[in-house]
């Protein structure tokens, strides 16, 4: 009897392991920092798609981008690299490329024709000296303005503002109605987000590129840029006293409850609205920018593929790159994440109103522009953020700020 059971167990084991031996699924360990509720739901769609394509997804989620990136870098240097690791669509991973520590995915990129459907800005980040070193996952736009319909009603404002002047008029009305006009979290990166919003909407495309891409001293010292800085500082009059140090989602909560009128924040804020069961167009409004030529600032995430010569790993990396950029995966992932797909040739009918608005803008090449960090190095971006945040918080002559910006952006 005992022997029989043993034999049965052994047989079962053999049966279970047999198919695995003949055709092992391509195992991929992926490091990422998508850990919040909505984010995990989003990353699950990637894992499911990869599994459906015959792979085995091993999830290594590490909270906080900075933390996850330093773990990835340490493991790459230490020789225990994951199959893929998340980075932002910025120059963050350029040093790793320089050290020759990444595999490229040229084969997939050329076969699938990435050049045809990826926005120029994204291509310029992932394509280095003709090689494709990362697979883009999503596009976030950091500089949306979100409005609270309830607060607007109380302040007697009918429509969402359509120009910068209307924005200030709305802020004045909100203030007069005793509400917090601008819900803002006074942390460096959030100050920087407001600055990006003003630079793209007041400065426009040319100035934006001259400042970030060319780091042109003449442009930074120009009156146009001075005007951008002054407009940015003017917005500070509309925040409440509790603003310094506030987290972005607490500021979004002020919009949700109708305590505040407007927040300038990335499209990840949509996650908060949907958690609170609010609907775009009904409970809250979204403004991608002012005017028919407003810019769509492109930020987002990519997967990079650490160097390996193991054919199984390389095959897994190629499969990942293909699955991630696939149109169906793209819609499924970005719906959950609150971002928009990296390609505009997808069926967007199922996505929410704001995402559809964003995709429509994204279709116009002249309106695509990179986030500051896609043009400048991480430490330049950090130095710029310090300058901007200081200006937001302190009374500093605008001419000095112009000089400081110039100093922050030098090599």
């Amino acid at each position: 009897m005992r022997f029989k059971t043993l034999a049965l167990v052994a047989a079962l084991f053999a049966a279970a392991s047999a198919p695995a031996q003949t055709k092992a699924p391509l195992k991929a360990e992926v490091i990422h920092w998508w850990t919040s509720g909505g984010e995990s739901a989003a990353v699950k769609t990637l894992a499911d798609a990869y599994r459906a394509a015959g792979g085995e997804w091993q999830d290594t989620a590490i909270a906080l981008g900075e933390q996850a990136r330093s773990v990835a870098i340490n493991r790459i240097v230490g020789g225990k690299a994951p199959t893929a690791a998340q980075f932002n669509t910025t120059k963050q991973f350029y040093d790793i490329v320089d050290q020759g520590l990444l595999n490229n995915v040229d084969e997939v990129a050329i076969r699938d024709g990435w050049d045809k459907f990826l926005p120029e800005v994204v291509l310029n980040v992932i394509r280095i000296k003709g090689h494709y070193y990362a697979a883009p996952v999503n596009i976030h736009m950091p500089a949306w303005a979100w409005t609270s319909k309830a607060a607007f009603r109380r302040a007697g404002i009918k429509d969402d503002p359509k120009t910068m002047d209307e924005l200030f008029a709305a802020l004045d009305k909100l203030k007069a109605a005793g509400l917090v006009p601008l819900a803002h979290g006074g942390q460096g990166w959030q100050d920087n987000t407001v600055f990006t919003f003003v630079l793209s909407n007041v400065g426009g495309r040319d100035l934006y590129l001259k400042v970030f891409k060319d780091r042109d001293p003449a442009a930074i010292k120009s009156d146009a840029f001075k005007n951008v800085l002054l407009t940015f500082k003017r917005l500070h009059n509309y925040v409440d006293k509790g603003s310094p140090g506030r987290n972005w989602n607490d500021a979004t909560a002020m919009i949700i409850t109708g305590r505040a009128g407007i927040q300038i924040m990335g499209d990840w804020a949509k996650g908060e609205f949907s958690l609170a069961k609010q609907e775009a167009g009904k409970d809250y409004g979204c403004i991608a920018g002012f005017g028919p030529k407003s810019l769509y600032v492109i930020q987002g995430d990519v997967m990079v593929f650490p160097r390996s010569n193991d054919p199984k790993v390389v095959a897994a990396q190629k499969l990942l790159a293909k699955v991630i950029t696939d149109p169906v995966t793209q819609v499924a992932f970005n719906e959950k994440k609150g971002s928009v797909p990296i390609r505009t040739d997808v069926d967007a009918s199922k996505m929410d109103m704001c995402a559809q608005m964003g995709l429509a803008i994204l279709k116009d090449k002249s309106r695509q522009i990179g986030n500051g960090e896609s043009y400048i190095a991480p430490d330049q971006n950090g130095a710029l953020q310090d300058v901007i945040s200081n200006y937001w918080n302190r009374d500093i002559p605008v001419e000095k700020v112009q000089r400081d910006v110039l100093a922050a952006l030098r090599d």
Binding site: R69, D95, Q99, G186, D191, G242, P378, D379, N390
Partner: protein, 292 residues
């Protein structure tokens, strides 16, 4: 043979520690010194650039502010902790009732991590939800205490939280010192009619020299490594108003991928510690020599 073995054994036992100190501490410090003179970014590089990183560092307004804040924070924190800690110890030394309970109460904050301390104080000091709000609701309409969102005062809120956390430890150390003082001295002073406060100030305090030095060194290291309390309370803000060197270094080490500049900052910090602590250690070793 036996004598030799007896002499070698302690050294052998200390060897692992010695290696750890040499490699882990001195080795790491030398490595940082080397990196601080290269143009390292995300990865360590060997491209030697001399003192360029140090020039950039001292050109950097945020670094200057961080050093300035360190001086304010360090001075106030150490002085306040020592004064409050000493007074608490003297108070408990009066053979008060419920001494055990009081000792635990005063020492308890130290059992809390700096992050938790910072968070609690951030809530207390937040003008929208904390103390100010509570006082205004209680009827003091003009009560304002909004240092934490004030550019010029934010650093002092960090001092408050840190002092609250660390004075209990100072008290415990000082109390141990006070208890080690011979009863005879007290009796003699009483016979001579010396007032109690005078005994503490002129006799007991000088006798606590070694304890004071220990407390000073402990508090100094806490100052230099202060990082988590800033992160939890203000994240260096508003703007960069409450920035400290450790936070500057951490920011540049990882998020801003500038190993070279971060290492230069770390070396400056190490140098500062040595300048403060070295004379003290020197004086102590001199005294020890004089005694033997």
């Amino acid at each position: 043979m036996k004598a030799l073995l007896r002499r070698v054994t302690p050294w052998t036992a200390l060897l692992p520690l010695a290696i750890t100190v040499l490699v882990g501490y001195f080795g790491a410090a030398l490595w940082s010194l080397f990196i601080s003179m290269t143009s390292s970014r995300t990865f360590p590089s060997t491209n030697f650039v001399g003192l360029e990183q140090y020039e950039r560092l001292f050109d950097n307004e945020r670094w200057q502010l961080a050093l300035h804040n360190l001086a304010i924070y360090g001075l106030l924190f150490i002085v306040a902790c020592m004064v409050i800690g000493f007074l608490l110890a003297v108070f408990i030394d009066q053979k008060v009732r419920g001494e055990g309970l009081l000792r635990v109460a005063f020492l308890y904050p130290y059992a809390m991590s700096f992050v938790a301390t910072g968070l609690v104080w951030q809530w207390v000091l937040n003008p929208d939800s904390g103390l100010q709000n509570a006082m205004q609701h209680l009827g003091w309409k003009d009560f304002t205490f909004d240092w934490i969102i004030d550019q010029d005062m934010a650093i002092y809120t960090i001092v408050i939280a840190s002092v609250w956390q660390a004075s209990g430890l100072v008290m415990a150390l000082m109390l141990a010192g006070l208890r080690s003082i011979d009863e005879e001295i007290w009796k003699a002073a009483r016979l001579d009619g010396v007032p109690v406060w005078r005994v503490y100030l002129s006799i007991v305090l000088p006798m606590l020299g070694a304890t004071l030095a220990t407390v000073f060194v402990l508090l100094s290291t806490a100052v230099v490594k202060a990082f988590d309390v800033v992160i939890a309370m203000t994240q260096g803000g508003p703007g960069t108003a409450s920035d400290l060197p450790a936070k500057f270094i951490m920011d540049h080490l990882f998020g801003r991928a500038n190993l070279g500049l971060a290492s230069a900052g770390a070396m400056v910090l190490l140098l500062t510690v040595l300048i403060i602590v070295a004379p003290l250690l020197y004086a102590r070793s001199r005294r020890k020599e004089a005694r033997t």
